[in-house]
């Protein structure tokens, strides 16, 4: 009987050392690249109208700037990748003698991430120009007062080219692309 107990305790000892096994499950998770850009609170038209002087000899009155529009962005990028936003006049022709200036504010809002650097006093043309560069992984928050505030203003570049009632509609296109 003593031999039986000895064997029993030897088995128990071995059991306490070896008594575990393992199994493994794998988890794969994809975080995709994402690039979303829109205008808030909407993309309705804004109006910038020069006002005629009421007194002979006075200059035209340049309208107040308009800063009612915001750019919202969601950007998810791989390591080492940054993005930029460009702006250009994609349809319509700016009346002769005028410049359309755009200032893009630094980011503000409820988002988080790497928001890059915004430009100011860009004279918009039909060629794409960088208005924000160095955007990384970021989200601005949704809606007005989130993201990059856009300020449009008119500038008279040449009085001699101005024509009465030369109104026109322009479309400004913003594009988010990888650098």
């Amino acid at each position: 009987m003593r031999a039986f107990y000895t064997l029993y305790f030897m088995i128990m000892l071995v059991g306490s050392v070896m008594a575990q096994t393992t199994a493994s499950a794998s988890i794969s998770f994809n975080l995709p690249s994402v690039g979303l850009l829109d205008l808030e609170p909407n993309n309705s038209a804004i109006t910038l109208a020069m006002q005629s002087p009421t007194e002979a000899g006075r200059a035209l009155t340049v309208p107040s700037s308009n800063n009612t529009k915001w750019l919202n962005v969601t950007s998810s990028v791989a390591v080492g990748v940054t993005r930029k936003i460009t702006a250009q006049i994609s349809s319509g022709t700016l009346p002769a003698g005028l410049n359309l200036l755009l200032t893009v504010s630094a980011y503000s809002g409820s988002g988080s991430g790497t928001f890059g650097t915004a430009g100011s006093n860009l004279s918009l043309t039909t060629s794409a120009q960088n208005v924000v560069t160095g955007i990384g992984g970021a989200y601005t928050g949704n809606g007005a007062n989130n993201g990059y505030n856009l300020t449009y203003s008119l500038q008279i570049s040449n009085y001699g080219q101005l024509k009465h009632d030369a109104s026109t509609s322009l479309t400004i296109t913003y594009t988010l692309t990888d650098n």
């Binding site: 493994s24 998770f29 994809n30 975080l31 994402v34 850009l37 829109d38 969601t74 791989a78 790497t114």
Partner: protein
């Protein structure tokens, strides 16, 4: 009489000739998931990604040569292959599986625990009599902390289930 008591103790111990009283096996060894689609500029991810409630099924088999009460516990840990520390993986059992006579604790759906590189107990139980296994305990995973500020990439990790005899 001593022989009978000794044999009874031997049976209760669940000790086996190999020293291993129980073994663990799983089905559903791979879970692939992706972040939900974002549709509105300015927004971040707002939800977690959750697997099926029975993504993995865990079975604890009693392999003892002889045994009456075979107690064990299942520990879990995460082994990163390529992972971002801002993404956290959570795990829970969502049911008890099936067993004749055995017990399992906690019962039913448990609370999520966050997986880490340190072993944590997921559940424990007792199998009554050799060959009466605890079968197909359903396991669910959840990934939290999604953000577009985390680099876009494919991430992978392993969940290690370790069975410890008690």
């Amino acid at each position: 009489m001593k022989r009978i008591i000794g044999l009874f103790c031997f049976l209760l111990s669940g000790a086996s000739v190999s020293g291993q009283s129980n073994a663990i096996s799983i089905t559903g060894t791979s879970w692939s998931a992706s972040a939900p689609t974002l549709t509105e500029a300015g927004n971040n991810y707002s939800s977690n990604v959750t697997s099926a409630s029975n993504q993995t099924l865990v079975t604890v088999s009693s392999t003892a040569f002889l045994g009456l009460l075979l107690s064990w516990k299942v520990m879990v840990t995460k082994q990163d292959v390529s992972w971002n520390s801002n993404l956290t993986v959570w795990i829970r059992k969502t049911g008890d599986g099936t067993s004749l006579l055995g017990s399992i604790t906690p019962s039913g759906t448990s609370s999520y625990i966050q997986l880490s590189t340190t072993q944590q107990e997921l559940f424990r139980g007792t199998n009554v009599l050799t060959s009466l296994n605890r079968n197909n305990v359903p396991i669910q995973y959840e990934i939290r902390g999604l953000s577009v500020t985390i680099p876009a990439a494919n991430y992978s990790a392993n969940v290690i289930y370790t069975l410890i005899d008690l």
